[in-house]
Symmetry: C2
Subunit: 249 residues, 2 copies
């Protein structure tokens, strides 16, 4: 196993950081790595906003559901879907392309581009001995987050990333069985096999929680997912992203 | 610079591979790395389908716009947004959650999850001396791709990834200036600075093409983007993903 594979397999989210800001050089390296990720036809439909201002971080932490690690970390990045520079390109070239910009296809491209870049950033940070945690919580209030970050139309903050020197260890949570995630030649057609894989994972995850809570936490994955899905969340999203000029056609 | 950063910064798409299939162990490692990526609240809303069957690969290559490297490679992966197992979880737990499953928010989560996993796979493969190329072209005909891969409702093939031993070198294309991708504290408000960064990139990319085509290729980035956006592409997408149970509410 090479050290890169080792770093990747060793990933766990870090939610407590030392009070030590990243250096400019570290941030530069992380951003350079992000920008080296693949991008659909070189469209580069994303931007990254780095936040160090304490008051801004405090506000973002609150909006993300009072997650202290959004405020207390070595650096905080926000990854955005971004077709703003493409709209400016159209203007610079006196071309028409709003129909494309507003298509569901381009929305997907921008999301995928931003996520590829962010995962490069995550691995780069981890390779430097830093820890990271993705923050989907900023999607709780994208209107306010967008105001704080002053993003123009056609820019949507997707998720944050807290980065810093880990000040506490965390466990690596077991994931779905690889045979369940990975299908050969075609998607699994045997529903019973599919369900029994989920049941096996339920047992494994349940055991993981029992051991880490001295027998207090009892839930399984399918139960967690059912509870999560029973309460629809962020149902303003469709309207919001369409207002921002995405996913309309 | 550590070897992980070096691997990440050295990325370029590879479109010509040796005729040597990946071993089962290599595939297993790549998938394990994919599944170690961060995932929103452990939702794991993606699947990977590995295709080795020659006839299937030939069909996918044709659907992707006659891209030979979809057929000729060491292994071919398709990354899918997947809420099928979540629908089964609801059934297993006798819970109601269709409104959540069909929300734009969960569509975004599934896309981001799949992309994070895929970028881990990409870096893992590159760390093993393999090359990769993302294949967005499978989105040209998602109905037919879905048939070939026999994916159920709530599963959307997003992109492919050709992997293999590189048989030819390729260049690293310059990307947008880091200052243009990366914003400090808030999004860039100075439109003139923003435009002049795009113009600087136009010059750099133009020079790159001129050098690599003996002066034949002349275009710039804003011109490429304008040409691309002038012809709306894959405009069936919105209807397709909604038919598949995504992005409805």
């Amino acid at each position: 196993m090479n050290p890169i594979i080792e770093t990747i397999l060793n990933h766990r989210s870090i939610r407590k950081f030392e009070d030590q800001p990243l250096t400019k050089e570290q941030i530069h390296t992380i951003v350079a790595c992000a920008s080296s990720a693949s991008t659909s036809s070189n469209i580069q439909a994303y931007s990254i906003i780095g936040v160090t201002d304490n008051e801004k971080k405090r506000q973002l932490a609150e909006l993300a559901g009072n997650q202290s690690y959004v405020e207390d970390n070595g650096h905080f990045l926000v990854f955005c879907a971004d077709l703003h520079r493409h709209e400016i390109s159209l203007e610079m070239e006196s071309a028409e392309g709003v129909e494309s910009l507003e298509s569901t296809e381009k929305f997907m491209v921008a999301l995928i581009d931003a996520a590829l870049a962010s995962q490069n950033a995550a691995i780069a940070a981890e390779s430097m001995g830093l820890g990271i945690c993705y923050i989907g919580g900023i999607r709780n209030h994208l209107d306010k987050v967008s105001e704080i970050l002053k993003v123009p139309k056609r820019v949507i903050p997707l998720f944050g990333m807290a980065i810093g020197y880990p000040s506490s260890n965390s466990y690596k949570k077991p994931r779905l069985p690889l045979a369940h995630i990975y299908h050969e030649e075609e998607y699994e057609q045997d529903v019973e096999k599919f369900k029994s894989e989920l049941q096996a994972y339920n047992k494994e995850l349940s055991q993981y929680y029992l051991e880490r809570t001295n027998g207090k936490r009892q839930d399984t994955w399918t139960d967690q997912m059912a509870r999560m899905l029973e309460s629809p969340k962020r149902m303003y999203m469709k309207e919001f992203i369409q207002k921002k000029g995405y996913d309309i056609r």
